[in-house]
Structures are given as structure tokens and as C-alpha cells.
Amino acid sequence: MNLDVNNWSLTLAMLLVMIALWIGYREKLGIDREIIIGVIRAVIQLFVVGYLLKYIFKVNNVILTLAMLLIIIFNASWNAQKRSNGMTNALLISFVAILVSTGVTLGVLILSGAIKLIPSQVIPISGMIASNSMVAIGLSYRSMNTQFRDQRQSVLERLALGGSLRDASIGILRESIKTGMAPTIDSAKTVGIVSLPGMMSGLIFAGVDPVHAIKYQIMVTFMLLSATSLGSVIACYMAYRNFYNSRKQLKDLASEK
């Protein structure tokens, strides 16, 4: 492999950070602090993860691998939950949605033999699945919140006519699930034409034959479709009842956080 970023070239590449700092200074953006903190965090986090992964790959222990997966899924749930705007049980809902979507997707990939059950394959792939599921769920939450606010009258009317909570929310549910999946579908349409996505670029970079690399990218496209659709569906169906109280009434906006 012709991969060789040594510490000296990395240090020189710091010049690129200088460019960002210089622009920030010249244009009085007031973001130099942010940039420096961002860079320091990125370097530290990546070094820690690098050594951690090296260790996990080396010991190749099932429990340790599962623990790592749980941490990834928990972090993703925590981030998704922040987009829910104070919805009750958002962390639990996000966790279940990401756990199931990651579990099912990963299971299919392993059973079909697309990836092997070894930490160096399972962990990075799970990270990709969980983070995409996280973004999809966050988008779904946001869309649901906006729609329940904007379409309040129409939801109330459906309830008044004797519709169930599902009858009253089904339009909003569908739209929220679609919103969660939209970026994945869009990127599936443009993959290879507009962007060479990370997985494929990485493999090509590492010297893998492009024809071989695209096969992995096709797998990634499939798995992200599954992850985002499962994540959004589960999260939306678990979350919409939160907008109603036990008497099946639409909660007042004022009584929400």
C-alpha cells in the first residue's frame, strides 16, 4: 500500500489550518477560538479512537466489540434526541430506533457475507449505519415538531371527527418519515456522479481497484437506505403519541417544553 502520512507531513499540513485562521482574522469572523478548539478536539479524539480501535482489533474480543457498538449507538441516540425539542422519552425512542436499524442492517450484511464478523469490519460499518440513522431520526423529529405546530387545526379537526390518533397523525407521520429518508435517497441518486463517497474514496486511496471499490459503495448505499428508513419509521411511530395526552387530546403548545 502506498499510504504514508508521516508526522512531519501532518505537521506541515497544519498550514491548511493557518489558511482558515487567516481568513477568519482577515474577514473579522471572530471564529479563531472556535477553529483552534475544533482542531485540538479533532486531533485528540482521533488519536484516542485510533489507539482504542487498534487495541480492540488486536484483542478481537466479542464482548469488547459489543461494548464499543453500544457506545456508538448510545452516542448516536444522544445526538438524535437533542433534535427532538424536549420530547418525552426521546432518548429511549432514539436508542431503540438506532439499535434496531443498526442491528438489522448489520445482521443482513453479515449473514449475506458482505462483511465479516470481525471488529475491524463491524465497528466502522456500524458507525456509518448508526450515524446515518441518527441524522435521519433527527430530521424526522424536527419535521414532526414543525408539522404538529403548523397543522394543529387540521389534526384537531380529525380528532373532533372521531379519528384515532393514527388517523389524525398519519399525514404528518408519512411526511416525517420521508423527510428523514430524503438525504439518503438524494445521495443514492447522485453517488458517483457528484461525489465519490467516503467508503469508496478511502478504498481507492488505499490502492484498491476502483471496480472493486464500487462494490463496497453499492453495499453502503443499500445499507444506508435500510438504516435510515428503519430508523425513521421506528422513531416516528414511537414518537407521535407524545403529542397527545392520555385523553387522546392534542397537547397544548404551552404545556410542551
Binding site: Q153, S154, L156, E157, R158, L159, A160, L161, G162, G163, S164, D167, G171, N245, R247, K248, Q249, L250, D252, A254
Partner: protein
């Protein structure tokens, strides 16, 4: 006649704001009650509580001798149907709206029944495919009301359904209410300031500052 609906000292409070206070009322089957009162006096709030879209913070409501707090709200709302002040129609066409009462009962929409309902409110049958954005205010109000009466409820709660309509539309809507009251024995509770409708009613109630006037 036997009471169909009883309110016992019903109150509604949001934080420190007492919106309704000590409302007691007995409604007999096939009563036609009109409700008037100044803006902000709590008329809509009262009907929404009766419709189980809000829960009273004080007092009890009995429907056919059963406390509504112990009934399934969904089934209850199909019997006690609330028609909004300034309703919005959903979907794209009139049919989307008239299909809803069938969909929630898991039955296929009965097109003949829908056409008949359109005729009753003085709209042509081919309006089923009409886009909702092409309806006039009065037509919208009438389509909205058909949704409430596609399956005839026991009680119809009407929230200023003729406000903003011209004389012709008012007359049609009032006749429709009268029709359901007389021919289908529907009990009516209607918020209105319309002189013609007040004349149709069997009882007149007034709310001021959240209290029922004696």
C-alpha cells in the same frame, strides 16, 4: 325528556387563568340550545370540553349517564361531534374530506351517500372531485359540516358555523341544522349570534366571563 348530557360545576383553568367557572347544565334529548356571549367569554372552550378535545379541570360531564372521563374519547367524539369555528378542509379534493368519516370506521367510502349529502347542503354531486382551493367560504363551511354528519351523531356541537357567510349560505346551513334536529333527532348545541338561528332554537343560553347567566 331524559337528559342526554349533564354538566356538573364544570370549570376550566389554564395556569392562574380561570376561563370557565361553575357551569352546570342539563341538556335533554333533542334539545336545540344556542349559546351566545361576548368574544373571549369561553364559548368555544366550553364546546371543546364537551367534545372531549379539552378536559375540564373542575366538575364532571355525563353523557347518557356515563362520565365522559371514563369513556373512550374516540368513540365518544363520533357521537358528540364538534364543528369548528373557521374549519379547514384536508387533502386536495372535496372527496378527500368526505372519505375521512368512512376511513376512520374502516369502511370503503359510500359515494352515493356522499353525493346525497352534497345535495342536502345544496352542492352539485360533481363537487366530489372539486379541489378544495376552488371552493367559496360558504361552500367550504358546508363541506366541513358534511364530514360531521356523514354518520349522524347524537349531539352536534356547532361553533359559529354561519359567521361570515352571506344570507343565502346562512339560510342553507340553518335549514341543514333544522333538518338534522327535526328529522334525525340530533341534539344541537350551537354558538351563534345569528337572529334567524336563534329563532329556531328551543333554549337560549348566555355566557359572560366564563359563567353561565341565569
Amino acid at each position: 325528556m331524559k337528559p342526554i348530557l349533564e354538566l356538573h360545576h364544570v370549570g376550566y383553568q389554564v395556569e392562574q387563568n380561570q376561563i370557565l367557572q361553575d357551569i352546570s347544565l342539563t341538556v335533554a334529548t333533542q334539545d336545540y340550545i344556542t349559546l351566545t356571549g361576548p368574544s373571549g367569554s369561553g364559548k368555544s372552550t366550553l364546546l371543546r370540553i364537551i367534545a372531549s378535545l379539552l378536559t375540564a379541570t373542575q366538575g364532571d360531564i355525563l353523557f347518557k349517564d356515563q362520565n365522559i372521563a371514563e369513556m373512550d374519547p374516540i368513540q365518544y367524539r363520533r357521537q358528540v361531534s364538534y364543528c369548528f369555528q373557521q374549519p379547514t378542509l384536508f387533502g386536495k379534493t372535496v372527496a378527500d374530506n368526505l372519505d375521512f368519516p368512512f376511513q376512520i370506521r374502516q369502511t370503503t367510502p359510500d359515494v352515493e351517500k356522499q353525493k346525497a349529502a352534497l345535495t342536502v347542503v345544496g352542492l352539485p354531486e360533481n363537487y366530489l372531485d372539486k379541489r378544495i382551493t376552488e371552493l367559496s367560504g360558504g361552500e367550504k363551511q358546508r363541506v366541513a359540516m358534511i364530514r360531521n354528519i356523514m354518520y349522524v351523531p347524537d349531539i352536534l356541537l356547532l361553533d359559529e358555523v354561519t359567521v361570515g357567510l352571506d344570507e343565502e349560505n346562512k339560510r342553507i346551513v340553518n335549514e341543514l341544522i333544522e333538518h338534522f334536529h327535526k328529522d334525525h333527532q340530533v341534539t344541537i348545541l350551537s354558538i351563534t349570534h345569528d337572529a334567524a338561528e336563534l329563532k329556531q332554537a328551543s333554549r337560549l343560553l348566555t355566557i359572560t366571563k366564563g359563567r353561565l347567566e341565569a
